[in-house]
């Protein structure tokens, strides 16, 4: 593995860890939090899966929680010099 790749890997894990930390801290069923990451040329896409009853917890009133999580993720992406997208999957 070249050093550049390893940095890239680390960033993806960092995004994943970030979303995972936030989601797990907010839901009632942390064990059911699952994040799938895919990386393409543009950046990474993170798909967040939570238990049905926790959907509201990660979205929030008027989508405020989701919005805040995305803002924090975008700050992390800027730091890593990458693009990322958070999808909340039903």
């Amino acid at each position: 593995m070249t050093p550049i790749e390893s940095i890239g890997q680390k960033d993806v894990f960092m995004f994943k860890d970030l979303i995972e930390y936030m989601a797990k801290s907010l839901v009632n069923n942390p064990d059911e939090v699952r994040i799938e990451e895919t990386e393409d040329a543009k950046g990474s896409i993170l798909e967040l899966h939570v238990a049905q009853e926790d959907l509201g917890k990660v979205i929030g009133k008027n989508g405020r929680t989701a919005k805040s999580m995305r803002a924090i993720l975008s700050a992390a992406s800027t730091r890593a010099g990458k693009q990322s997208l958070l999808k909340i999957v039903e």
């Binding site: 960092m14 936030m22 924090i72 700050a75």
Partner: protein, 226 residues
């Protein structure tokens, strides 16, 4: 779980007896009235007798969780600081957190490296608000009861912003005074609009919020406006 049985003329008396005997008040006891029957001796009824079954409520765990909760509430600031630290680490933003507490607020003033300050604050404090919102949510969830509000600040950005908005309000008031016409601000967040309302009120200028949601903006009217 141990069960105790008590008898007396009435259920109230039986409960009193149980309280005395076990040295606990009835709030921590589970009381079940078994039967109330006539007491009889040689076929002659003379008064009643009531039997109750008493079990001690699992108050040990109840108290522990209460205690736990108290320590958690006391430690709200610690939880808030810890979660912000974690978030900053995961977003690769290095900085020191300075913690202070007032009666109803926990303030985490963060000093971050210059190169990430703009990013941490975001446009009009957008990212700062996002961190603040998430940290508040995490704290609420962990402490599981009403807590102090957590304010996340970055090198007193919020304090500076308040000063700047007050300045804007004063400037707008001057404009209204000179022109005699109303002045409309750009859309702002609730707490920012509040500052303008307060400042204008002090100067005796009526204000109003117009629009809905994120489009809400403050209008300052001349003093004689009805």
């Amino acid at each position: 779980m141990s069960e105790y049985f008590f008898q007396d003329k009435t259920s109230e008396k039986a409960i009193e007896k149980a309280e005395k005997e076990l040295g606990l008040n009835k709030e921590s006891l589970h009381i079940e009235v078994l039967e109330e029957k006539d007491k009889s001796l040689l076929g002659m009824k003379w008064g009643k007798i009531c039997s109750i079954k008493v079990t001690i409520k699992p108050q040990s765990t109840g108290e522990a969780s209460l205690e736990e909760r108290v320590t958690k509430v006391e430690n709200t600031a610690g939880i808030a600081e810890e979660s912000l630290k974690k978030l900053l680490k995961l977003t690769d933003i290095q900085g020191d957190i300075e913690l202070s507490e007032t009666n109803d607020e926990i303030i985490l003033n963060t000093n971050v490296n210059d190169d990430v300050e703009a990013l941490f604050i975001g446009r009009r404090g957008k990212n700062l608000d996002a961190f603040q919102y998430i940290v508040n949510k995490i704290v609420e969830k962990k402490v599981n009861c009403k807590t102090k509000r957590v304010i996340i600040d970055c090198e007193n950005y919020r304090a500076r912003r308040i000063g700047r908005i007050e300045g804007m309000a004063h400037k707008a008031i001057m404009t209204v005074k000179e022109s005699g016409e109303y002045y409309t601000f750009a859309p702002m967040k609730a707490d920012e609009r509040r500052i303008i309302h307060m400042t204008a009120k002090k100067e005796g200028f009526p204000t109003e919020s117009q629009g809905e949601g994120i489009e809400k903006k403050v209008v300052i009217f001349p003093p004689n406006h009805i």
